[in-house]
């Protein structure tokens, strides 16, 4: 897969956040490439792949602007619907809600919920013979949560070779619990197959996500990313975690993205 310039999608994230005065922009920026690669591959499936039904579950719910703009890009949700992001009647808010859109697999936002749900989905699909993977995206900070490791234990116990956990390792949680450097060892200790890649490299992402695992169990793909990727003043800047750009900042960021 050749690299695709996602600056227009980053610009769209900034626009939505500015208008709504809401959104976790740097978190969305760090996972945008991962989500885009997933949906790009799935959207290009031909008839021969029709029996494949890969599911994406965003456990790191506050990064949802990335998911929304990707769904919009692939025309799964309408621009007009997303224009109202964060507003009173909108179907798209600061965390994704499955009761408001069929393209949202689970309502997340409280960290640690998505991977157990993904395990349940994977268990059912394996039993029912549904082809395709369940891909769950968590954050490295989210991996502080005990429920993540309960799910990891279950996933290997039940040999869920149809489950992939993508970890957005943007190291934003390091100021609290130092887990980023341990993730590989931790997942390995739980008998997962572990890959570690550049989370902004589309070729590596596509290969890692869609290649078949070799050990017959679940896979963890540690995606090393930069929080705020794409806008220099946001990159690794904690003050931007839940801050929306004002119109002046928005204009400056657009210029930066267009360069």
């Amino acid at each position: 897969m050749s690299e695709i310039n996602l600056s227009p999608l980053r610009a769209r994230i900034l626009e939505l956040s500015m208008q709504a005065r809401e959104g976790h922009v740097p978190s969305a920026f760090s996972i945008l490439d991962i989500i885009f690669v997933f949906y790009n591959k799935v959207s290009k499936r031909t008839n021969s792949d029709l029996d494949l039904d890969d599911l994406f579950l965003l456990s790191k719910g506050h990064g949802c602007l990335a998911l929304y703009v990707v769904l919009e890009h692939f025309e799964l949700i309408e621009k007009a619907a997303l224009d109202g992001f964060g507003s009173f009647n909108s179907d798209f808010g600061g965390h994704p809600d499955r009761t408001k859109s069929p393209h949202i697999t689970a309502s997340t936002g409280s960290l640690g919920h998505g991977l157990p749900i993904a395990v349940g989905l994977a268990m059912s699909r394996l039993r029912r013979g549904v082809n395709g993977s369940v891909c769950c995206l968590i954050g490295d900070g989210e991996a502080n949560e005990g429920a993540v490791w309960e799910a990891a234990l279950l996933a290997s116990q039940h040999n869920l070779n149809n489950l992939t956990c993508l970890i957005d390792n943007n190291q934003s949680g390091e100021r609290a619990v130092h887990i980023s450097a341990k993730l590989s060892k931790m997942f390995t200790a739980f008998d997962w197959e572990v890959l570690e890649i550049d989370g902004h490299d589309h070729c590596h992402l596509e290969t890692a996500i869609f290649e078949t695992g070799t050990v017959g169990g679940p896979r963890a793909i540690i995606c090393n990313t930069v929080k705020g990727k794409g806008v220099r003043s946001m990159e690794r800047a904690p003050e931007w975690h839940h801050r929306s750009p004002n119109p002046v900042e928005y204009s400056e960021f657009l210029k930066e993205l267009s360069n």
């Binding site: 499955r98 009761t99 157990p116 749900i117 395990v119 349940g120 268990m123």
Partner: protein, 291 residues
């Protein structure tokens, strides 16, 4: 009542393969026939309640009907957020069957007590609450609701009423009609003690096995002037439910339940009943201000 659960499940599985039972490493022996006959429909998932409820939600998303079973505090309190978000907020169907109730595990102490379970779940919008009083009632109520596509909590108890009633989900049952205007709502297995407590008293007794949705119509149709709510749970539950009457000038109400404090004694559940004045004699004193 607890023994009925695997039996009911076994029978349902003979015609509905959507059921997926997740045991929190308890009741495994009791479910041995289900394990033997329907191994793909039951899992001893382990002692990880938050993930278990999440897994159940994933199964529900995939079209299964999950049934999660463990001791009440671990199911409800430890995994409360998963119940709230993964099931309540996502409007997913699932069945949550607890044992232990408020203090069935009296000798094990407070970590295994759960007098708050019903109150907590009442605060998750849409969560159905079922408190059967006998094994047959559980069987009837579970069969009627297990596939409801809403989250439903079934509170199993070590104690059962002697009276088996043809209860229906969402309906209260009139057990006795009096003339005094004093109406007593007895919830689930509390009925046995309420009947003894009210021996010789001119009261109306209404039996409740569904706390949410609560059947106010049956209560109001009997035109009570005073309603007492007897439940083996924190009293706040009763005030929450009867709060609907607070705007009415023609009905007063009170609650006989467990005061909001840790139960810091061991012994048997009969010992705790006496300690909390929730045995028949204690209930009689609290209802009628006698003794």
């Amino acid at each position: 009542m607890r023994a009925q659960f695997p039996s009911t499940t076994l029978d349902i599985l003979s015609h509905d393969e959507r059921l997926q039972v997740l045991l929190g490493d308890i009741g495994v022996f009791g479910f041995r026939h289900v394990f033997a006959k329907y191994p793909k429909n039951i899992t001893n998932i382990g002692i990880l309640e938050q993930a278990t409820v999440g897994v159940a939600a994933g199964m529900a998303l995939a079209g299964d009907i999950p049934v999660v079973h463990t001791i009440a505090p671990f199911l409800v309190e430890r995994a409360y957020e998963q119940l709230k978000v993964d099931f309540g907020y996502q409007s997913l169907g699932g069945n949550f069957v607890s044992v232990g109730g408020s203090y069935d595990y009296a000798a094990l102490g407070c970590t295994h007590h759960c007098p708050a379970d019903l109150s907590l779940l009442l605060n998750i919008p849409g969560f159905e609450l079922v408190v059967p009083g006998t094994a047959k009632e559980f069987d009837r109520l579970f069969r009627s609701r297990y596939a409801s596509l809403t989250p439903t909590y079934f509170r199993l108890s070590e104690r059962s009423n002697h009276l088996d009633l043809d209860v229906n989900f969402g309906s209260n049952t009139v057990v006795k009609t009096g003339t005094s205007g004093h109406l007593i709502i007895a919830v689930g297995p509390a009925l046995e003690r309420v009947l003894k407590a009210c021996d010789g008293m001119d009261v109306t007794i209404v039996y409740c096995t569904t706390l949410n949705p609560f059947d106010y119509n049956t209560v109001l149709s009997l035109s009570p002037t005073h309603v007492s709510f007897v439940v083996e749970a924190y009293e706040g539950l009763g005030f929450d439910i009867l709060g609907a009457f607070s705007a009415r000038a023609d009905v007063t109400f009170d609650v006989v339940g467990i005061p909001r404090a840790f139960i810091d004694r061991y012994g048997s559940f009969d010992d705790i009943d006496r300690y909390l004045c929730l045995d028949a004699m204690g209930i009689r004193k609290r209802l009628f201000n006698v003794g």
